[in-house]
């Protein structure tokens, strides 16, 4: 399966709030494959937390330190760690010897704290850097955001057709129609961003394309979630209604692997360095 096709599955995962480490397993296997380490069975997760120290004593590797915010860290059969050794990125596969502290993001997805003091199963130099991983992670979130926005657009449209006030469905009111049109437009932008993100990950990553995609999807996530809540009214603010499964994920995913300021600044610095007269050629090359 081509990377873009695999990543496109994450849009479907986002559409269904899939409670599995699909993105993390993809990222982990991407790192392992690039480093030439055989893939283990089962779901994986991935981290490049700055507090981790990978060291070698003769032929024996050791991994120590604390990694926070490890997605599905308590559910994965193994953790793929990206850490620098003497300034060069290395990949380590770890399947045990770490403690797991419970922590969750606002959508109650596991984002655990792992404390390592262990011997990795395998270690190899990595052609992919921590920045590459951050970008690939951002690409996964752009796609998941696109899927979740598709879902809330469909849910909110249906709700506006079903919910009656003043003797007619609220979707008959022009003000509500225009809010829904705006939600649909943001979703369209996020879908385009997701497609750009999916095409931007291969053997390496296209940093500028991912910067544009993650930032645009993250912006759409915030605007879209707010509109979906406004149209759903009070019922959408309850725990028993399913809207929050998606809006809370949108709020979590727009931050993970970097929000708008981080990626906008990266893209903006590149555009500025290229210069005013190169703006258009630079944009069309993305």
């Amino acid at each position: 399966m081509a990377p873009a096709d695999a990543l496109a599955l994450l849009r479907v995962a986002g559409r269904h709030a899939l409670p599995l480490p699909l993105a993390e397993t993809m990222l982990a296997t991407w790192l392992l494959a690039a480093a030439g380490i055989a893939m283990p069975e089962g779901p994986l997760t991935v981290t490049a937390a700055p507090g981790l120290v990978l060291s070698r004593d003769g032929a024996k590797w050791h991994l120590a330190g604390t990694a926070m915010g490890v997605a599905w860290g308590g559910d994965a059969a193994g953790v793929v760690v990206l850490a620098e050794v003497d300034g060069a990125p290395h990949v380590a596969l770890v399947s045990g010897g770490y403690t797991i502290a419970e922590h969750r993001n606002i959508a109650r997805e596991p984002r655990n704290t792992l404390v390592f003091d262990t011997v990795p199963d395998a270690v190899a130099p990595s052609p992919l850097s921590a920045l590459d991983l951050r970008a690939a992670g951002a690409a996964t979130r752009a796609l998941m955001i696109a899927g979740a926005l598709e879902r809330i657009t469909a849910m909110t449209t249906q709700y506006a057709l079903d919910r009656t006030q003043f003797g007619r469905p609220i979707g008959r009111f022009q003000a509500v129609q225009h809010s829904l049109a705006t939600l649909a437009a943001q979703t369209a932008a996020a879908l385009a961003a997701g497609d750009i993100a999916a095409e931007a990950v291969g053997e390496g990553v296209d940093l500028l394309a991912i910067a544009a995609a993650k930032s645009r999807a993250a912006e759409a996530a915030g605007i879209g979630a707010a509109l979906a809540h406004q149209i759903h009214g009070a019922i959408g603010f309850t725990y028993e209604h399913s809207l929050h499964y998606f809006t809370k994920r949108l709020h979590a995913w727009r931050e993970e692997y970097g929000g708008e300021p981080e990626w906008n600044e990266r893209l903006g610095r590149h555009l500025a360095a290229a210069g005013a007269d190169a703006l258009w050629p630079t944009l069309t090359a993305i």
Binding site: L161, A188, A189, N264, G268, D277, W280, L283
Partner: protein, 383 residues
């Protein structure tokens, strides 16, 4: 097809080869063309430039070769027009003819009309304007009152068209009017006519100056203006069907998100290679919006190429595009202070002022924001 279906834009190596050719041509042709002209975007007029584009074969790219067109793909046309817009080239002369009048004639016109008009359009020597809006028919196009009455050998036109951009230098108008019944019949009983603006007797063209003082708009009064039978485009009574089929072409192109692009270029020029963190973030965000809009717009071009009618998708592109075009002047002024002026800042300020003044029109022309959102709502199944 759902309202939110945007297939991946087709990949075209021919189009990318064409892009290099167009860039090289524009680099030479517009080498001394200042920002104060480029900022006019697709409102800039230069008949000689339009003719040169015609000579290069870059007008009517998608028109069939049997009528003098170039038989190339919608994606190739897309590349040419986005390169022209990004450079701020003065394209308005041939713009409407290339974008929608030519395609309408090819779709609905008689053999004789195709043979007459298409080669002239392709040469960049026959300019068109759009005769849709009237004093009391703006967004509500189906309420038009201008009327064609059948007479011996042709039709008498009576009524007034308003906001007709570029009528004063156009050779022809595609007039949308009533040819039977009353305004209460709405969409029924409407037709389209190819009106020769240079020779038709009984019509007068009066300028309506924009708030900048510029002359783009016109009011056109028809008083028993005679047009011959062969001026009818398509079928009598089918005007509404014909006119609405133009709209996806009119609404989804890169001119719907690049109208302020020259201001963004000039903002970047003033900011320099090492902008503040705040400026870098703002510029990056606009870049991200442009990249995603371009993807959506190219996707619609692909759907048009495939013979689909992506009316909802086109409305989505135009709604998002107008928001971006209107945001750019606001963001530019937040990043660059124009007081006190220097020669460099004064140049930037002229582009900023021009774009700020034109920004209100971006969400009015070609379908207001409110009309577009209604179309999107219909596409979502709410109407």
């Amino acid at each position: 097809m759902s309202a939110l279906t945007f297939p991946p834009p087709p990949v075209s190596l021919e189009a990318e080869a064409l892009r290099s050719e167009v860039r090289a041509f524009l680099a030479t042709e517009l080498a001394d063309f200042p920002a104060e002209r480029r900022m006019e975007s697709w409102s800039g007029f230069d008949a000689a430039f339009s003719r040169k584009l015609g000579q290069r074969g870059w007008i009517g790219l998608t028109f069939p070769t049997e009528y003098g067109g170039h038989g190339r793909t919608a994606l190739e046309r897309y590349v040419v027009i986005e390169e022209l817009l990004a450079a701020g080239a003065p394209v308005v002369g041939h713009w409407i003819a290339d974008r929608q009048s030519g395609p309408s004639i090819l779709r609905f016109g008689s053999e004789a009309q195709k043979r007459f008009f298409i080669p002239r359009i392709v040469a960049g020597e026959c300019f068109f304007c759009i005769g849709m809006s009237e004093p009391n028919s703006g967004s509500d196009l189906a309420s038009v009152r201008t009327r064609a009455t059948k007479v011996e050998g042709g039709w008498h036109i009576n009524g007034t068209k308003l906001w007709t951009s570029q009528a004063h230098f156009s050779h022809y108008m595609i007039l949308f009017c009533r040819s039977s019944g009353t305004p209460e019949d709405r969409q029924n009983g409407t037709s389209q006519f190819l009106v020769d603006l240079k020779t038709t007797k009984g019509l007068s063209i009066r300028p309506v100056h924009a708030l900048t003082g510029e002359h783009h708009f016109n009011e056109i009064v028809f008083q028993d203006a005679f047009v011959p039978d062969d001026a009818l485009l398509g079928e009598e009574g089918q005007g509404w069907h014909q006119v609405t089929s133009e709209l996806a072409y009119e609404r989804s192109g890169p001119e719907r998100f690049l109208s302020s692009f020259i201001l963004l270029v000039e903002t970047l020029r003033v900011l320099g290679a090492h902008p503040s963190e705040r400026a870098a973030i703002a510029i990056g965000r606009l870049g991200a919006h442009l990249v995603t809009l371009r993807r959506l717009s190219r996707s619609v071009a692909g759907m048009l190429q495939a013979g689909e009618n992506p009316a909802t998708q086109a409305a989505l592109v135009k709604d998002l595009g107008a928001l971006l075009e209107q945001e750019i002047p606001d963001i530019a002024r937040s990043l660059v202070a124009v007081d006190p002026p220097t020669p460099e800042i004064a140049r930037f300020a002229r582009v900023l002022d021009y774009t700020t003044q034109h920004a209100p029109s971006f969400s009015l022309r070609g379908g207001t924001r409110e009309i577009l959102r209604g179309i999107i709502a219909r596409g979502l199944g709410l109407r």
